[in-house]
Amino acid sequence: MIHSTAAEMATKLAAGEISSVELTQQHLDRISVVDGQVHAFLYVDTEGALSQAAAVDAKRVAGEKLSPLAGVPLALKDVLTQKGIPTTCGSKILEGWRPPYDSTIVSKLKSAGIVILGKTNMDEFAMGSSTENSAYGPSHNPWDLTRIPGGSGGGSAASLAAFEAPLAMGTDTGGSIRQPAAVTGTVGVKPTYGGVSRYGLVAFSSSLDQAGPCARTVLDAALLHEAIAGYDPRDSTSINAPVPAVVAAAKKLDVKGMKIGIVKELSGDGYQAGVRSRFDEAIEELVNAGAEIVEVSCPNFEYALAAYYLIAPSEASSNLARFDSMRYGIRVGDDGVRGAEEVMKMTREVGFGKEVKRRIILGTYALSSGYYDAYYGSAQKVRTLITQDFAAAFSKADVLVSPTCPTTAFKIGEKSDDPLAMYLNDIATIPVNMAGIGGMSLPVGLAPEDGLPVGFQIMSPAMKDDLMYQVGGTLEAALLRKWGSPILSNAPALGAN
């Protein structure tokens, strides 16, 4: 039953119609058939997954009260630590490292009985929009294997679109959950910053990173969201407040009287025609469902990309300093003669990829004395302005919407030599991270010109994540009525040859 939704799987598991071991095995089988083509996984924990599944089955037989998603499998982005399981962040420098501790998310997944199938591929240290920056080779888009599945969390999104897993974990610093969701026809949510603990999420940019759920439906994402969210004293930036009721919101299927704001600056020029037409049709569906559409302007968004590429690399240059071969990961050049500093240099030279080095250098420069105010300082001011733009927009609308990305999935290799073109992919997703608010991407159809999925972004105010689920759930239901079958039923079959 790998083509079902996670909610349906949970219902069947609860009814005893299938065991978690059986369900897990079906997914492991699917992985062994298609992952040679998709390369969504960096590590598959067959034994661990089956024993976790068996433990959930035993509890169910014993009549224990279980969480809603108990026994449902999940694919974990390789940036989250899981005790004893290799965690590479897509980097060579961490090859062979097995963390001695669980991230808070993994602890929560385990206690919810969610079965972890393995670790998914990603751009190195989450820097990228295509998984082409993974040290272990790119993942492929199940819609067209010659195309990218987005990034950095391309592995997680591809695993969902290829039916290798019904749920996946992602992390989103500038769009790494939402953009892969958009280009693979899946759902991805970046919760409010601080809504989900970052403890055990290997940091790229601490003030922007946020883990969130990836799924094939809005309700599945909501179920996973509630399983992983909540205050964590080990993450001092996590918010000590109740988790928004996102599952209830996803089930509301009603937007009557809601005000939906279209962000003027996130549409028009630079957006592929098919992306624009599908976006406009989705807006019509929302109007038909009773929502009121308003246009809002966020003039400072035009500086978002530039500011992001100062803040994120600055924080990364410091966060990635710890990868020095002294305590974990690979070590290069330690011949007993060279000093520690030289061994550090040689290890970092070999261990980090091109894009990571580019950003470390950029960030180191931006933080240097004499440049700090002009670069890092100005970028922080832009951040404040973007937050103010959102505040003004949310005074006119309950949620804001835009296309998730300017284009559908591009070809592997197409932009890998042009970092700026690659960075432009995240133009619509980055403002959400800069302001720390919530953002969701869900599929709204296929672009007529290339037959590839188009993503629709919904943005909600901080700690009002329920609003984007409410709008997303309603839109998804309307589109499903119109289409008659889920968007992924249009994707080509995999593993045939």
């Binding site: 001695p100 403890y199 993450d235 001092s236 930036t237 300093a321 305590r327 933080l367 004395s369």
Partner: protein, 499 residues
């Protein structure tokens, strides 16, 4: 010809700046729950956070914030309603994250002062030391470089790293520049660190053990031509680890710099290391190619914003200032200056006060703690307070006062308590240490002594009173020292017709 200290001071005005690092004595580290015990097996007090493992995050220790605020309040600082941690980025193997989490431009306490008194040619004089800031940071791990001749990283065969110290909370207290101390600069520096140490001890926020490194001082010294009112280039002498060394480091730097300037050489802005044996400093890292630490606000920590009401609560708990307390006790106990100083230096002021509060005579309490007990503690190389409690000492003093013990017996009781034989009363019972005050028992001993030394007895009968000493001695010997010597004398003289 080289200038000596007096000549150096005649030609140049010194300006000081002092940075004191204090290890807080919190039970857990600054950003994780690891224990902070001194001297544990290497790398046994570590976790993903203080090892800087990928994915780990810091969480601020509230107790460390409280201690920092107490220090700020005791130093008359303003407590910032909003302060932040920053990252100080540089690579070093004993720093797990390759950045130190420290407060930078937004410290928790600012603008305070501390008054210190020193003896000058014109009598006691108060110097006000302005405090610029008090800020929090985490300590680094420790490197042990093995195989080289210098113990430094260069030339070592290999290095061992111990991360037990990584993440221990540190507070750094930085003065503003201290001008106009003239020839008293070394004394002012010493008095400041001493007073600061006493304040920190009275607050109970640190062990303040300079020899273990829980209090470390960096001394900045610069010279300018006498009367010029200028500010010269400074050197920074690191990790001076005793009060005496603070004084020596400052005077040594004044002499060294004066001689350079006199010879037309310039002072290099640099870090210097104090050499305990010679009292000199040797050059360390030059600061002229200033390292760029790329400070930026620590994004993993929310700002520290202590509640104003909480700060006032803490202010209300501040103990009496050590300098004021010393003055008060000196008068109350009628202690000479020198004795007061030895009590403070031996860190026994609290203990003596506690003993006095239990009813003991201040002079007696002082002499027991500083005398017999300190002597035994020195022998065992432990702190006096680890051997015996003020309650036990007060009990012994009370027994002497009531005549139930002689001084000599009391020493045996104290020794018994220290040997773990129980409370003073238990030791007295077990060892049978009772003053022999029964006259008839004493008379038997006295008669025996007279019988053994008839000529001496005759001389006493003849009026040679000092001769009684020999007989008293014999009686004391016979009774194993348990007799009250005064009583023996009285009975003896009476018996021989001299009473």
């Amino acid at each position: 010809m080289a200038l000596n200290y007096d000549q150096a001071i005649a030609a140049y005005d010194p300006t000081l700046g002092l940075e004191v690092h204090v290890e807080l004595n919190t039970n857990s580290k600054m950003f994780c729950g690891c224990a902070t015990e001194f001297g544990a097996e290497p790398n046994t007090q570590t976790c993903p956070v203080c090892l800087g493992l990928p994915g780990s995050l810091p969480a601020v220790n509230g107790k460390a914030i409280e201690s920092s605020i107490l220090i700020g309040l005791a130093l008359n600082c303003s407590i910032a309603p909003f302060s932040r941690f920053a990252r100080k980025n540089y690579f070093y193997p004993d720093m797990p994250k390759n950045f130190q989490t420290s407060q930078f431009d937004e410290p928790i306490c600012v603008n305070g002062y501390l008054d210190v008194e020193i003896e000058t040619d014109e009598g006691t004089k108060v110097f006000r030391i302005d405090i610029e800031r008090v800020h929090m940071e985490e300590d680094t791990g420790k490197s042990l470089h093995v195989g080289g001749s210098t113990g430094r990283i260069h030339g070592a065969e290999y290095s061992l790293l111990d991360y037990n110290r990584a993440g221990i909370p540190l507070v750094e207290i930085v003065t503003k520049i201290i001008p106009n101390t003239g020839k008293y600069a070394p004394l002012v520096a010493r008095a400041y660190v001493t007073e600061l140490r006493d304040i920190l001890r009275s607050l109970g926020v640190s062990d303040v053990k300079m020899e273990q490194g829980s209090l470390r001082c960096d001394a900045n010294v610069s010279l300018a031509p006498a009367g010029s009112g200028q500010l010269g280039t400074r050197s920074e002498t690191k990790n001076v680890n005793s009060l005496r060394s603070v004084e020596r480091a400052v005077s040594g730097e004044i002499e060294r710099q004066a001689n350079r300037l006199q010879n037309g050489e310039r002072i290099v802005q640099e870090t210097r290391h104090f050499l305990e044996e010679s009292g000199q400093t040797r050059p360390g890292r030059s600061k002229e190619q200033a390292e760029d630490y790329r400070y930026f606000p620590e994004p993993d920590l929310v700002p520290v914003a202590p509640d104003a009401a909480w700060i006032e609560e803490l202010r209300a708990t501040l103990p009496e200032k050590p300098s004021i307390r010393r003055k008060r006790l000196k008068i109350e106990w009628a202690v000479p200056d020198k004795e007061m100083a030895s009590m403070v230096n031996a860190e026994l002021l609290d203990t003596v006060e506690e003993t006095v509060l239990l009813g003991s005579d201040p002079t007696k309490a002082r002499s027991w703690w500083l005398g017999e007990i300190s002597r035994l503690a020195n022998e065992k190389e432990v702190a006096p307070t680890s051997l015996i409690t003020p309650i036990q000492v007060a009990e012994v003093i009370a027994l002497i006062a009531s005549g139930e013990l002689t001084d000599k017996l009391a020493r045996q009781v104290v020794e018994g308590v220290i040997n773990g034989e129980g409370t003073p009363q238990q030791v007295i019972d077990a060892r049978g240490l009772k003053v022999v005050s029964d006259d008839s028992a004493l008379m038997v001993a006295i008669e025996a002594a007279i019988a053994s030394q008839p000529e001496t007895a005759e001389r006493i009968r003849g009026g040679n009173i000092p001769a009684a000493g020999a007989l008293i001695g014999a009686v004391m010997k016979a009774t194993g020292g348990q007799a009250d010597a005064a009583k023996v004398r009285e009975l003896l003289l009476k018996h021989l017709g001299q009473g």
